[in-house]
């Protein structure tokens, strides 16, 4: 596999959007990268980690996004160009630091890359971080294709140093995870000595302490706004803002990011390039006024195409109002008039439909035939399949026990969930055990609240479920809260030995760093004991012991308790291709449909490795899928599922 530091200037490489961003950072000569994994951002730090040694780069997986941003900011203050990457919800975590960071500004170039998830394909929400740029007054740039993903990232460092402020580069799933041709530039070889200059006046940008005592905060804020004005000036001539189309289009489309490609495709398919103009903005906050004046002045109708909320649309409308006397009245199309949806991802079809309606044009030539063909293809496509836990996933076993313990207790106990694969615990594959899923750490925080409501007649047992990486990321403060205030909760930590959902990145509980070197692992059970919680650790594959522990905790003394369920992820590198047990179903013992179990194994337990043998009408192990965890042997009431130590 090639790494992103391969290839010389002028060479063309087929790069994923995230790889292009990482390459752009290398071409900008970054020295430090810090991140917390999160789809669709994780490949940026991962690709950087691969070349860290070779390129003399410090790269870390930080405990959470706020700390990652702080680590990157420290680099900037020490004179090292730095990047921090995260997904949209990570920006929320980092935002507490982002506000004062943007207010004071930066020294060496610093870029915050946010990769967002319109459609919430692998997120709990469709958060849109563009709003932060406006709210917290720092520049925002968005690449419009894969070449720009690299180029705009590299340029963002220069911009950051010109303005002395953090620059946000925003991507979305279809930009980050799709691939395209990218012409490479050089990776500079530079030696920098890191040093934090705190001597000098706090009013200085490149030296002095950073303080926010009066009147410094107001001074910094004024300086910040001047930076933003300068950014708008720079953006007027930015090559990342480009127009294509007739001089006086019937309809002006203004767009950014991946929607740029959707618009190009829709215009091409509808054959309306002579009627429609396309203004692609790479610099989306602050908006360049003169550029917009020029283009808005040439068309009476404007369609704004962007994913999710009308961020561009609203800001352009404000600008159009300010420019009103010069450009005249405009008719706007976009989210507000319903031409495009403000939830879920856009795509070329949606843009096409909006254009068809606005311009009254027909769809593409021969659409009937094309659609028929497409429908035929769709019919024979992949069958619908619900999301599930992998064969051998410890979460299935854990939820089985949590569900059963809460049900046996019978007081309508419930579990508050968190962010990870185990968020599937709300569905049938997790036995509908989780009743809430919000943000990282929120399960424990909610539980800490529920656990205090006894004076109001609340008697339901409360369990919080979190992953190991999530525990360090955001659960610890909630646990401290629960222990300190004696909230009646049970925190179950599903310790599968890594940040599994995003690709098994290490976390503070794992004795390895991002760049593969050894580090000290922090034992989460010890942390919890140190906080003052009663702690038990067991293997979730031992269903009986796990349920006994849970019931004891549910029925036991009041206060916060922690059960660490420790079993590696079925996809963890140490487990891959290794079976603990050879599993089989003794079909002479399995009674099939005649058994009172009503297909407990395949109807309820639902491990993909355990299937219904339609021919024999009995259960069967799918030896290709089964990873030999052995758990199903303990759920068959007839003992028909056999496990033997794998050799």
């Amino acid at each position: 596999m090639s790494t992103i530091d391969e290839g010389r200037s002028g060479e063309i490489r087929f790069l994923q959007g995230n790889e292009a961003i990482a390459r752009g950072a290398l071409e900008a000569g970054i020295k430090v990268a810090a991140a917390y994994p999160g789809t669709p951002s994780s490949e940026i730090p991962e690709r950087l980690a691969e070349v860290a040694a070779e390129q003399g780069l410090y790269m870390e997986w930080s405990v959470n996004e706020k700390v990652a941003l702080e680590v990157a900011a420290a680099a900037s203050l020490a004179g090292l160009r730095s990047l921090s990457a995260m997904k949209q919800v990570g920006v929320n975590v980092a935002s507490d630091f982002l506000l004062p960071l943007a207010q004071y500004g930066t020294r060496a170039g610093m870029v915050l890359v946010t990769c967002e998830d319109p459609g919430a394909l692998s997120s709990a929400n469709e958060g849109d971080s563009r709003q932060y740029a406006r709210m917290m007054e720092f520049p925002l740039v968005e690449p419009g294709d894969f070449q720009e993903a690299k180029d705009i990232t590299k340029w963002a460092f220069e911009l950051s140093e010109e303005l002395r402020n953090v620059v946000m580069v925003r991507s979305v799933t279809r930009m980050s995870h799709a691939s395209g041709n990218v012409v490479l530039g050089d990776i500079p070889k530079s030696e920098v000595v890191a040093r934090f200059n705190y001597e000098g006046s706090p009013f200085g940008q490149m030296e002095g302490v950073i303080d926010s005592a009066p009147p410094l905060a107001a001074y910094y804020h004024r300086r910040q706004q001047e930076k933003l004005k300068r950014a708008a000036e720079i953006f007027e001539d930015s090559p990342f803002n480009a127009y294509s189309g007739p001089d006086y289009p019937e309809l002006l489309i203004i767009t950014s990011s991946i929607c740029h490609l959707y618009c190009k495709e829709a215009i091409h398919v509808l054959g309306i390039s002579d009627r429609v103009g396309l203004l692609k903005l790479g610099t989306t906050w602050p908006l360049p006024a003169r550029l917009l004046e020029k283009h808005l002045g040439k068309s009476d109708r404007v369609l704004v195409v962007e994913d999710l909320l009308p961020f561009l649309e609203d800001n352009i409308k404000v600008m159009a109002a300010e420019l009103g006397q010069k450009i005249g009245f405009k008719r706007f199309y976009g989210k507000k008039d319903g031409s495009l949806p403000s939830v879920d991802e856009l795509n070329p079809d949606l843009v096409e439909a909006a254009l068809t309606k606005i311009l009254g044009v027909e769809g593409p030539a021969g659409p009937e035939e094309y659609r028929k063909q497409m429908e035929e293809v769709v019919k024979i496509g992949a069958p619908a399949r619900m999301m599930t836990f992998c064969p051998g996933c410890p979460h299935r076993a854990s939820f089985w026990s949590i569900h059963n313990a809460l049900t046996l207790d019978g007081r309508k106990g419930f579990a508050c969930g968190d962010i990870g694969c185990y968020a599937l615990g709300t569905t049938a594959v997790g036995f509908e055990t989780l009743k809430t899923v919000h943000a990282m750490g929120s399960g424990a925080g909610l539980a800490s609240g529920f656990g205090q409501f006894k004076p109001f007649g609340f008697n339901q047992p409360v369990v919080a479920v979190c992953g190991d990486s999530t525990f360090f990321h955001a659960v610890m403060p909630a646990l401290v809260n629960a222990v300190h205030l004696q909230s009646n909760i049970i925190l179950v930590i599903l310790d599968n030995g890594g940040t599994a959902m995003t690709g098994f990145q290490p976390h503070p509980g794992v004795a390895v760093k991002a760049i593969g070197k050894e580090s000290s692992a922090i034992d989460m059970a010890d942390v919890c004991r140190g906080i003052g919680a009663e702690v038990k650790v067991c293997d979730p594959f031992d269903l009986e012991q796990t349920q006994a522990n849970l019931l004891e905790m549910i029925e036991g003394e009041k206060g916060a308790k922690v059960l660490v369920l420790r079993q590696s992820c079925a996809l963890s590198p140490e487990k891959k291709h290794k079976k603990m047990f050879d599993m089989s179903v003794d079909q002479t013992l399995c009674l099939g449909d005649a058994c009172g179990c009503n297909r407990l194994c395949t109807r309820i337990f639902r491990c993909p490795g355990l299937v219904w043998d339609k021919q024999n009408k009995k259960a069967r192990i799918d030896s290709v899928l089964c990873v030999g965890c052995g758990v199903c042997a303990s759920i068959c009431p007839r003992g028909a599922i056999k496990k033997e130590e794998a050799v």
């Binding site: 569900h403 046996l408 207790d409 036995f431 019931l551 009172g596 179990c597 009503n598 407990l600």
Partner: protein
């Protein structure tokens, strides 16, 4: 007998607060489990008919069908059900000492039943720190260890189901009226299972007015005393009106009014005080401490009493008419109240679409019971 599936059982019995946690539906499948006296369904099962429903004494109990099966006649609705003979009884001195509630009659009968091979194992209710728990006794010592009333509703029949699943036959069961009704329902084989085999060869029923919810009782006692010191409990006959808890070295009395709220709602719908579907029914003999009331209902019961006496394990005396009338009066009261409650709730002879009955019986008999 109408038989539905676990969906209906869960809705009607668990959802309708009718479950007494007898354990009859537990361990037949992986879905129903009993934990600390309460039965729950772990996962939904979509079978249209289930053995769980067959076994439940709180779902579609057709008294006429059971009566035809047992006595070849419709259900009569008499206060203490069909019986041949009533005795005052007690274990003889030949029996080892036990913590008997009354006269030790049940233990003596089980000793004899096991000795003569009528039963191989006995499904009983023991007690440990966690509360009453089902036990499969195979030795006289285990039988003796289960002596004494538990008062907490117990999932005794989980042990029966487990024993049957393990292939045991010739089982003796000692149970409360609800548990005895469950066994009668199972025996009636309403699903007409081809290879059905009656694994129970002796049923000794206990007298019961009501049970106490295990969890509530335990929670209550925990606040008042060290529960690990409890040796036995008793509710002496009126006018005592107390729950007497014997600890090692002392006894503590609680007014019955303090624990009445722990009586499950389900007991209010139970019309059976004397375990009418048993071979032998045993209860306290009011006014004669150390003695039991023993009702002989079946031929098998009669033979066992005879042989127990012959073996010198059991002593019997004729039951004075006056005591019998008193028992019948109390049983009639319970029966009337239960029928009225079922009638009021619409779960007696329900005929509306989708509404299932707790019990069914000829309407004339029902009317007679309700009016008396």
């Amino acid at each position: 007998m109408r038989v539905y599936g676990s969906k209906e059982l869960t809705a009607d019995v668990l959802g309708g607060d009718l479950c007494i946690g007898c354990g009859a539906c537990v361990e037949l499948c992986p879905y129903f489990r009993n934990h600390r006296g309460r039965t729950v369904q772990l996962f939904k099962c979509d079978l249209e008919q289930g053995r769980c429903y067959v076994a439940c004494p709180k779902a579609e109990v057709d008294l006429d069908e059971l009566s035809h099966l047992y006595w070849n006649e419709p259900y009569q609705g008499t206060p203490i059900g069909k019986y041949e003979k009533a005795f005052a009884s007690r274990a003889s001195d030949r029996m080892p000492a036990g913590r008997f509630q009354g006269g030790g009659t049940v233990s003596a009968l089980l000793f004899q039943a096991m000795k003569q091979g009528l039963i191989e194992r006995a499904v009983l209710t023991g007690q440990d720190q966690g509360g009453p728990r089902p036990i499969i006794a195979t030795t006289p010592g285990e039988i003796i260890s289960c002596a004494g009333s538990k008062f907490g509703a117990a999932p005794t029949l989980t042990a029966l189901n487990r024993a049957v699943a393990e292939g045991c036959r010739n089982l003796g069961v000692v149970g409360t009226p609800c548990q005895v009704t469950a066994i009668a329902k199972i025996r009636s084989n309403p699903m007409e299972i081809d290879d059905f085999e009656d694994a129970v060869s002796l049923v000794i029923g206990l007298f019961c007015n009501w049970a106490l919810d295990q969890r509530s009782l335990r929670a209550f006692l925990t606040t008042r005393l060290d529960i690990s010191r409890v040796k036995s409990m008793d509710i002496p006959p009126p006018p005592a009106n107390t729950l007497v808890v014997e600890l090692d070295g002392e006894t503590i009395e609680f007014p019955l009014d303090e624990i009445r709220s722990f009586i499950p709602e389900s007991c209010g719908f139970c019309p059976d005080m004397t375990s009418e579907w048993a071979d032998l029914s045993v209860g306290m003999f009011e006014g004669r401490p150390g003695w039991n009331t023993l009702l002989v209902r079946t031929e098998r019961g009669r033979e066992l009493v005879k042989s127990a006496e012959a073996a010198g394990l059991l002593k019997t005396q004729p039951m004075p008419e006056e005591n019998l009338e008193h028992l019948k009066g109390a049983a009639a009261d319970k029966k009337r109240r239960a029928f009225q409650a079922m009638d009021h709730k619409g779960i007696l002879n329900s005929c509306d679409e989708g509404v299932h009955a707790l019990m069914r019986v000829g309407q004339d008999v029902a009317n007679k019971i309700i009016r008396e």
